[in-house]
Subunit: 95 residues, 4 copies
Amino acid sequence: MTTFGGVSGAHLKQFIERVERLEEDKANIANDIREVFAEAKANGFDTKIMRQVLKIRKMDHQERSEQEEILTLYLHALGMVPRDDTVEEAKSKAI
Amino acid sequence: MTTFGGVSGAHLKQFIERVERLEEDKANIANDIREVFAEAKANGFDTKIMRQVLKIRKMDHQERSEQEEILTLYLHALGMVPRDDTVEEAKSKAI
Amino acid sequence: MTTFGGVSGAHLKQFIERVERLEEDKANIANDIREVFAEAKANGFDTKIMRQVLKIRKMDHQERSEQEEILTLYLHALGMVPRDDTVEEAKSKAI
Amino acid sequence: MTTFGGVSGAHLKQFIERVERLEEDKANIANDIREVFAEAKANGFDTKIMRQVLKIRKMDHQERSEQEEILTLYLHALGMVPRDDTVEEAKSKAI
DNA sequence: TCGCCTGATAGTTGCC
DNA sequence: GGCAACTATCAGGCGA
């Protein structure tokens, strides 16, 4: 294997190309999102407001995640290591 | 269908949720990219250099795209509306 | 000196106004640029092509900068901390 | 003079380079602004809040400009073509 | 002239 | 904690 200063060129190339493929996928999805907004706009929706809605919903989810995290902390503090389904159960009750 | 102020809630919800699903996919891919960098780092590669390599490769691609675009612009400016294969031909000569 | 909550109003005002003056200068230059484009357009030049030319020239400069940077990174990675004139020498050979 | 398809290369080059010089100036000013923020930060100011202050002041100016514009419109509508100092006088009274 | 759309800019998040 | 990449917002330019 070709190496320069102890660096494997082939191995490096693998990593570089994996990142490039993933970034291509990410760019494609970004395009898809743009298309959804365009379609919504064509249907008379205000994209700026849609973005605000998305932001608020995201914050809600984050808040919920933080609450779940706090719940887990409490359970640990109480010596009650939560099984996943316990947390699920607790969450469903909390809703 | 339920509407508020002439806005279809159901229709809007469709768009919002489509965007949310796509953004979730995008976030997952961003995570994958982070993991690839972490793995490369664990294999002794310098992520700073990797990022630089990626940046240069990206700029190369962009520059090629830009130059193809300006070629098309020139052809239009000269009244030579390019058929696709004409552009392909010109590009291959330019290389 | 007047302070509110330990914040010096006068001192803050100095900074704010310096930024505002600079932003005014920046806006003026943006206007100058617009005027140059308008003048070029009045002389029959296609501004779209001009912008494309500018973009490519900018990318050329950036790419050169990026490549110099990665050369420096590589030299460091190889334990060859570059003196400035060494880099200059290497770059001139690379050209 | 060299021309391609009726396009003067030399003339175009003049415009391109004028724009590039102006953009360089603009970039320099942007750097200056960044330095002012850095200096303010080093003096204990919160740059995020500073930016908000700047935004609010900018909106105030815009609001004032709009009011001046409306005043001018009214004066015209009344057959009173405003001399500049008249407007200045009216504005100072309005404050 | 108005609306769209792309490019510039400001803000946020993640990395070092 | 500072810095850089990325994202979202905004304004100017273009075409209908």
